[in-house]
């Protein structure tokens, strides 16, 4: 079974981002970039399926400029077999990414596509669902457990009220939640082997997709700064402040 995994290059989640002075965007100058944590979980899940003998080949795909090859190489080091970069410039919105991925799905015919439930930069939580609709495949989103059984996959989903299990006919789409697995570290020998693995570069035109934008970013600004707290001397003072200053009781 062939598995396609999507990975995105994003700002490292431990980095405190700043808005550019002119408010046009987040300042990405000299900022540490990494693989989106949910995508990392997606790669790990695919690798586990391969180790369990369920998956036969893992293809890691990323949409972005040349720099995103770094994250594809990370996926290859973690255990993906080959990589595909779809060369784009600037920000691309979820619908475009979904269309591009659909192009790859048509070319590669994977039985399973695993994506992160969202990426931590845009927080859109749309790409997996849009791809499901475009490619006409069933989807199991927010997965905390994935079990492949013959030509079906059971996906346990983290929903508001608890857990829900859905059974999908393959080929299908899975998007990962945090609890699905704990990704391994990339081993140095595997990082070196990954350098020799195949990495194809496609243009959107190769996949028959025209990049159009439906969104305009108006402004990026930092959240309002939190005011420093104070220590109150007594319960009476606390109640007084809550009543008369904060006016919450």
């Amino acid at each position: 079974m062939k598995v396609l995994v999507a990975v995105k290059r994003v700002v490292d989640h431990n980095v405190k981002v700043r808005a550019k002075a002119d408010g046009s965007d987040v300042d990405l100058n000299n900022v540490k970039m990494a693989i989106n944590p949910f995508c990392e979980i997606a790669v790990e899940e695919a690798v586990r399926l391969k180790e369990a003998g369920v998956a036969s080949e893992i293809i890691a795909v990323s949409v972005g400029d040349k720099a995103c090859q770094e994250q594809i190489r990370t996926a290859l080091a973690l255990g993906a077999d080959r990589g595909i970069q779809i060369e784009t410039e600037g920000a691309v919105e979820p619908l475009v990414v979904a269309k591009l991925l659909k192009g790859v799905v048509e070319k590669e015919q994977p039985q399973l596509v695993i994506l992160g439930k969202q990426s931590i930069d845009g927080d859109n939580n749309q790409t997996g669902q849009m791809l499901g609709a475009l490619a006409n495949m069933g989807q199991g989103t927010f997965a905390s457990e994935v079990k492949v059984d013959g030509d079906h996959v059971s996906v346990t989903r983290e929903v508001d009220g608890g857990l829900q299990t859905v059974k999908l006919k393959l080929p299908a789409i899975v998007t990962t939640d945090l609890r699905l697995n704990e990704p391994r570290y990339a081993s140095l020998p595997n990082i070196m082997k990954a350098k020799k693995k195949q990495l194809d570069v496609y243009t959107p035109a190769d996949l028959g997709v025209e990049i159009t934008s439906h969104l305009t970013q108006l402004r990026v600004e930092p959240p309002a700064e939190r005011q420093a707290g104070i220590k109150v001397e007594s319960v009476a003072q606390l109640v007084d402040k809550l009543k008369n200053e904060a006016k919450v009781i």
């Binding site: 540490k32 990494a34 944590p37 990370t74 391994r184 570290y185 081993s187 140095l188 990082i191």
Partner: protein, 471 residues
């Protein structure tokens, strides 16, 4: 020294102390005594007569003057994370806790320096530096509790020494209240000051025996760019040193730490962390370097390949994100806390880096021969020639018997330290725990000079008496 100690303060003395620091700032309940009278060690039972929490330099001076007049021994107390019982008040001393002197002020971007009260928490200074786009490079697992005054008094080292040195290298100036209650303003932040002896340097690492550090001007560094962490598995200790040599020759390392398989097992099991890679190896080296360009990464890889070809490294991982770098660091940094439940017998020994392989081979054979039935956890700042050797107490063995057996073997270990010209305390200080072993590292003449220096700063001998050496 016993004439200095009291177990209860007279009501008059309590009243005088309260008059200086305020009524709520003199504590003598059992909980406060146990809390403020001890440190991270669990060998001596804290038994101070009382605890005072002064709120200003003047108050510290007045308390010390009072103590000098009354011939009352005092113990300065910082974050109480010390590992040699330096801050333990065990025979009725008065504890002066610096917790309230915790303000940071007078940041100077030109000098890249900032003024800290003695009670500023190490992490508080690290965070302050970060907010200014700078970096305070002294760091270790107890940084969330230890204080700048305590760091200075122990000349704390930690995990970045290989690149940034010890606390000493970051103290631009300090203020000391001597044993007579006088205030010294030492070095005043000067970069160059060859006008006489540098008394500041004597105070750094004095473990509170010369006086109380009340304030310091600390220097800050530029933050590291994109730190990357490697954890490498090695077949033996000699290989760890080969790896160090190979990497240090070609790269500026930020850190080079090591730990043993048993240390890793304990941390993984008790902290719920992930092993770096599946196959266990005898020892692990943790390296951190700054990735300023692609070339740094390529070089790190090339050196890794070389080490594998030579058989010095079996497997390895590299952080792909800041989160992974932090998780890998926890494998090393969480060791102390993890093994604390086995009340380990700790040795913090060092020699010059080039002598480490032969030195360690000898120490290892003595220790393995002496403790066939004990669990031994090795880790430390091996890039600085510093190892922490921890012997874990088997649950069934009574504490006293365990301490005694370890004490005997320590002598053999320290004889090796002595032959190699090493130190019986690389960075944790001497306090009470290493006092009997000081002579393995310091000549009688040296210790005698130390005594004379102490008398000059503290004629009444009230400042942390009985620590490091007896008068």
């Amino acid at each position: 020294m016993s004439e200095l100690a009291v177990s209860e303060l007279s009501p008059e003395l309590v009243a005088s102390l309260e008059a200086i620091v305020g009524k709520d700032r003199v504590l003598s309940d059992a909980d406060s005594k146990a809390h403020y009278g001890g440190d991270w060690t669990r060998v001596y039972r804290p038994a101070p007569c009382a605890v005072v929490l002064p709120g200003s330099i003047e108050q510290v001076q007045e308390v010390v003057r009072l103590a000098a007049r009354e011939n009352l021994a005092v113990v300065p107390s910082g974050g109480r994370t010390g590992l040699s019982a330096g801050a333990v008040a065990y025979r009725g001393e008065l504890v002066i806790a610096l917790d309230r002197l915790n303000s940071i002020s007078d940041f100077n971007p030109v000098e890249r320096s900032v003024r800290c009260g003695a009670g500023v928490i190490t992490e508080q200074l690290q965070n302050f530096a970060q907010e200014q786009g700078l970096f305070y490079p002294v760091d270790f697992a107890s940084a969330g509790s230890s204080q700048i005054g305590g760091n200075i008094s122990t000349n704390a080292g930690g995990i970045k020494v290989i690149r940034h040195g010890m606390t000493r290298d970051w103290v631009a100036g300090l203020k000391l209240v001597t044993g007579t209650g006088e205030l010294l303003d030492l070095n005043r932040g000067l970069m160059k000051n060859n006008a006489g002896y540098d008394l500041r340097q004597l105070v750094i690492g004095a473990e509170g025996t010369l006086g109380i550090v009340v304030e310091a001007t600390m220097r800050l560094a530029r933050p590291p760019q994109d730190p990357v962490v490697l954890v490498l598995g090695t077949p033996d200790m000699a290989s760890v040193m080969e790896v160090l040599e190979v990497y240090q020759k070609r790269m500026d390392l930020q850190a080079f730490e090591f730990f043993s398989e048993l240390a890793l097992q304990k941390v993984v099991e008790h902290q719920g962390l992930q092993r770096p890679f599946e196959s266990p190896t005898e020892f692990y080296a943790l390296l951190e370097f700054e990735q300023r360009s692609e070339a740094d990464m390529e070089l790190a890889m090339e050196l890794f390949e070389h080490c594998v070809e030579q058989g010095w490294v079996i497997d390895g991982v590299i952080s792909q994100s800041v989160a992974q770098a932090e998780s890998l660091w926890r494998l090393r940094e969480d060791i102390s806390e993890t093994i604390a439940r086995w009340t380990p017998y700790k040795n913090d020994i060092s020699t010059t880096v080039s002598k480490v392989p032969a030195f360690l081979a000898e120490v290892e054979s003595v220790v393995n021969g002496a403790y066939p039935d004990f669990e031994i956890v090795w880790f430390g700042h091996i890039g600085d020639g510093n190892v922490h050797l921890n012997v874990l107490k088997p649950d069934a063995l009574p504490k006293a018997e365990f301490q005694q057996r370890c004490g005997e073997v320590s002598r053999w270990v320290f004889e090796i330290v002595q032959r190699y010209g090493g130190s019986v305390s690389a960075e944790h200080g001497v306090g009470l725990l290493k006092k009997d072993y000081l002579h393995y590292s310091r000549s009688a003449l040296e210790v005698d000079l130390m005594r004379q220096i102490k008398r000059a700063f503290d004629p009444a001998g009230i400042m942390n008496p009985g620590k490091i050496f007896d008068l």
